[in-house]
């Protein structure tokens, strides 16, 4: 059992939990992920490590309520326990010979982009962080991000925070204004990562994306997480989750992300009915 030592609600649908997992905290690096199972009947779901504290022995994840597992996870509070928590999985992000990097987070992806920005910033790299949200009420971890980069741009689709536009429009504006990036790191919804890659391709700026497909074991065993990269089949769990975005077949990844959509929606609906039933009883 793995104890939740801290919980913070970041916006109505996004929460942060810090979990006691000393062995994982000792080894975790930015870019890696954990897999958890909330309870005995639960699914195994991967979450990118948002932060870790080697001294305290804790690992932090940030999640959005999108399905049954995340709904269930959000019912837990500090002091509660998670049944299974395994990691660190995947290959850690590797940065070399970079002076200026744009780190882009879309929605919840901001939480995954944060440790990468923090790592680059701590290496002395000039980091422009561009985060995008639908509106100002959904903005998360803005203060944490400020500490992890040189310049922070928080964009909203509707302009409700005074900065209207997509992350791609901001990135394009910066590139066109003459900023020279050695690397772009883009983490968020598949369509956003695809759009960023299309933008950077003509400028030949190397672009790293983080894939988060369906998986079970996270150790290379099921092959459910296969992604086509440069025409080759890769497993996101052991070959990634970071890949060269210009080589990723996003259209296929978008189709594959729908593999269990109907069943997942079913599961969530039944869960909500039960919860409401319990509240009304």
């Amino acid at each position: 059992m793995y104890k939740i030592v801290r919980k913070e609600v970041l916006n109505p649908s996004v929460s942060l939990i810090e979990v006691d997992a000393p062995y994982i905290a000792k080894k975790a690096e930015p870019g890696q992920f954990i897999i958890l199972r909330v309870n005995e009947t639960g699914e195994r779901i991967p979450f990118t490590i948002a932060d870790y504290d080697r001294e305290k022995g804790t690992v932090t994840i940030i999640f959005q309520k999108v399905g049954k597992t995340t709904e269930l996870l959000d019912t837990l509070n500090a002091g509660d326990e998670i049944l299974d928590f395994v990691g660190p999985l995947g290959v850690a992000s590797h940065f070399e010979n970079v002076k200026r990097v744009a780190v882009i987070g879309g929605g919840l992806g901001t939480a995954i982009a944060y440790p990468q920005a923090k790592k680059l910033h701590s290496m002395g790299v000039e980091v422009d962080m561009i985060n995008g949200f639908r509106n100002k009420d959904l903005v998360i971890i803005e203060d944490m991000c400020k500490q992890a980069c040189t310049n922070l741009y928080t964009m909203t689709d509707d302009g409700s925070n005074g900065n209207k536009g997509f992350v791609t429009s901001k990135l394009e504006e910066l590139i066109k204004s003459g900023v020279k990036y050695d690397l772009v790191v883009a983490i968020g919804p598949l369509v956003m990562m695809k759009a960023v890659c299309e933008l950077t391709r003509p400028y030949e700026i190397k672009t790293i994306v983080s894939m988060n497909p369906v998986m079970i074991d996270g150790t290379g065993m099921c092959g459910g997480c296969r992604v086509t990269v440069g025409g080759e089949t890769k497993f996101a769990c052991v070959d990634g989750p970071d890949f060269d975005g210009h080589l990723v077949d996003f259209d296929q990844a978008i189709l594959r992300s729908k593999m269990f959509k109907e069943k997942e929606a079913d599961s969530l609906k039944q869960h909500k009915c039960r919860m409401e039933g319990m509240q009304n009883a």
Binding site: Y23, K27, E43, C222, V238, L255, K263, Q270
Partner: protein, 463 residues
């Protein structure tokens, strides 16, 4: 006077058209009377040829003689002297290629049903036996076992009996390895595996789940920082092979590992009570001819598929699956498309639609001694399919290899270990089971775990 019947006493089974709709065990096991009757078929040969066919040297004629006398508890203890998992072996061992292959009764008629009697004894003991496990005197030495499958659990049990402090590290949330994620409930009930594991815990074996060795701790850290005197690696062959044909990334295509893990370990057959989903659809194509392919096909049928096809490129004779499994699959309505091979998987909107196959014929024998299948030009045909399961084999997971530079592996990624001892190129590190041999059987892995336990004991006794 022995029972001279030429046939084994039949074991009761669920009727095919009943069992292909549920996940309960197919075979129901012998009653006491049946077990005694079958045990009486044993001639108690002096030279014990059957024992020579058993990778863990179960004292077969001795335990069968005890069964014939109705001394079931004593029979259990006799098996347990050399085998840690009798309830498992009695169910999933390929006895026809091992102990029963050498049975004298098999020369004229059927061999003694050694597996069936073993299974009866183990089940009888689980129900009626008194747990009288004596914890051995600790000898103060610590051994780490990586992987809680048949090899690791056997090695753990044997070392614990010798007084070692044994810690098992398992990547999944449940110990058991392939016994839990691979072999389906209807062939090996998970409650039985769990009971065998509980017995090891009673012996003092500590099981740490959710520990991916090679990630959270390396082999070197186990030896240098965590204070283990030796390590046994039994991580199996968990990396699925794909065919590298067009359409393998379509939705609805599964590796057998993914398909079976969802069903067995994650209990997708109980969705939505359990959260893990699976989609099978009406028509399922399973590619491959081994036990894993049979397990996948029979599981798909139980999940409601109307048509389940086994597509195998050679003929039935060359199928690596156990005869009994092929027989059970046929009874349950699995359709065999033999001597044909998939060319590509056709899709629509990202989902599997059909599998294009080509007919094969057998040519000259290849390196494996089996006749090589050759495609018949122009014989392509389509099988409609909603899902496809690729069950053409597994190779070892590279996680440990990649993080243990001085551990020698071969070109297939298998750890190189001496067959007689299980010793690897790294001092204090032993290996056995599928991670050494490539995908094989539960009992061979158990045999390797047993051998390694003996070598580890010798190594640490002289240290």
């Amino acid at each position: 006077m022995p029972n001279m019947s030429l046939e084994k006493v039949k074991m009761p089974e669920q009727a095919p058209d009943v069992r292909n709709k549920n996940f309960e065990e197919v075979s129901m096991g012998y009653t006491e009377e049946m077990a005694i009757e079958e045990a009486q078929r044993c001639l108690n040969c002096k030279h014990k040829p059957c024992m020579g066919g058993c990778p863990v040297n179960v004292k077969i004629p001795e335990f069968i003689a005890l069964v014939a006398e109705g001394k079931f508890e004593d029979a259990y203890y006799k098996i347990q002297e050399t085998s840690s998992l009798p309830a498992v072996c009695g169910r999933v061992c390929p006895q026809e290629n091992q102990c029963e292959k050498y049975c004298v009764r098999g020369i004229k008629g059927e061999a003694v049903g050694i597996g069936r009697i073993e299974r009866f004894v183990a089940d009888w003991f689980m129900k009626n036996g008194k747990a009288s496990i004596e914890k051995p005197e600790p000898n103060g030495k610590k051994v780490a076992i990586v992987g809680a499958g048949p090899a690791g659990l056997t090695c753990a049990g044997d070392l614990a009996k010798l007084g070692y402090k044994v810690s098992v590290f398992e990547a999944f949330h449940t110990p058991g390895g392939v016994l839990m994620y691979g072999i389906p409930e209807f062939r090996l009930p998970k409650a039985i595996v769990q009971k065998e594991i509980d017995k090891l815990k009673d012996l003092g074996v500590e099981i740490n789940t959710n520990m991916v060795i090679g990630k959270v701790l390396s082999i070197d850290e186990l030896l240098n920082d965590e204070g283990f005197d030796a390590v046994f690696v039994g991580t199996g062959a968990g990396l699925p092979s794909f065919m590298k044909i067009e359409g393998e990334s379509l939705n609805g295509v599964y590796s057998a590992n993914e398909f079976l893990t969802r069903i067995n370990l994650m209990k997708a057959y109980k969705f939505p009570e359990y959260d893990t989903p699976i989609n099978v659809g009406k028509s399922v194509v399973v590619v491959g001819g081994g036990n894993v392919a049979m397990d996948a096909a029979r599981s798909a049928k139980r999940l409601g598929a109307e048509h389940v096809y086994i597509v195998y490129r050679r003929s039935e004779e060359e199928m690596p699956a156990r005869r009994e499994e092929v027989h059970h699959a046929k009874e349950e309505g699995i359709e065999f498309k033999l001597l044909c091979n998939p060319n590509k998987i056709n899709g629509e909107d990202g989902w599997v639609k059909s599998v294009e196959c080509i007919e094969m014929e057998l040519g000259e024998p290849d390196a494996s001694g089996r006749r090589r299948p050759v495609a018949k030009e122009g014989s392509e045909f389509n099988i409609e399919a909603d899902s496809v399961v690729i069950a053409i084999g597994q190779t070892p997971n590279p996680l440990i290899k990649n993080t243990t530079p001085d551990l020698e592996t071969n070109k297939w990624g298998c750890i190189v270990a001496k067959e007689e001892t299980g010793a690897t190129s790294k001092t204090g590190v032993y290996a056995g089971g599928d991670v050494v041999t490539g995908a094989a059987t539960v009992i061979l892995a158990m045999g390797a775990g047993k051998t390694a336990a003996q070598s580890i004991d010798e190594f640490l006794s002289n240290k």
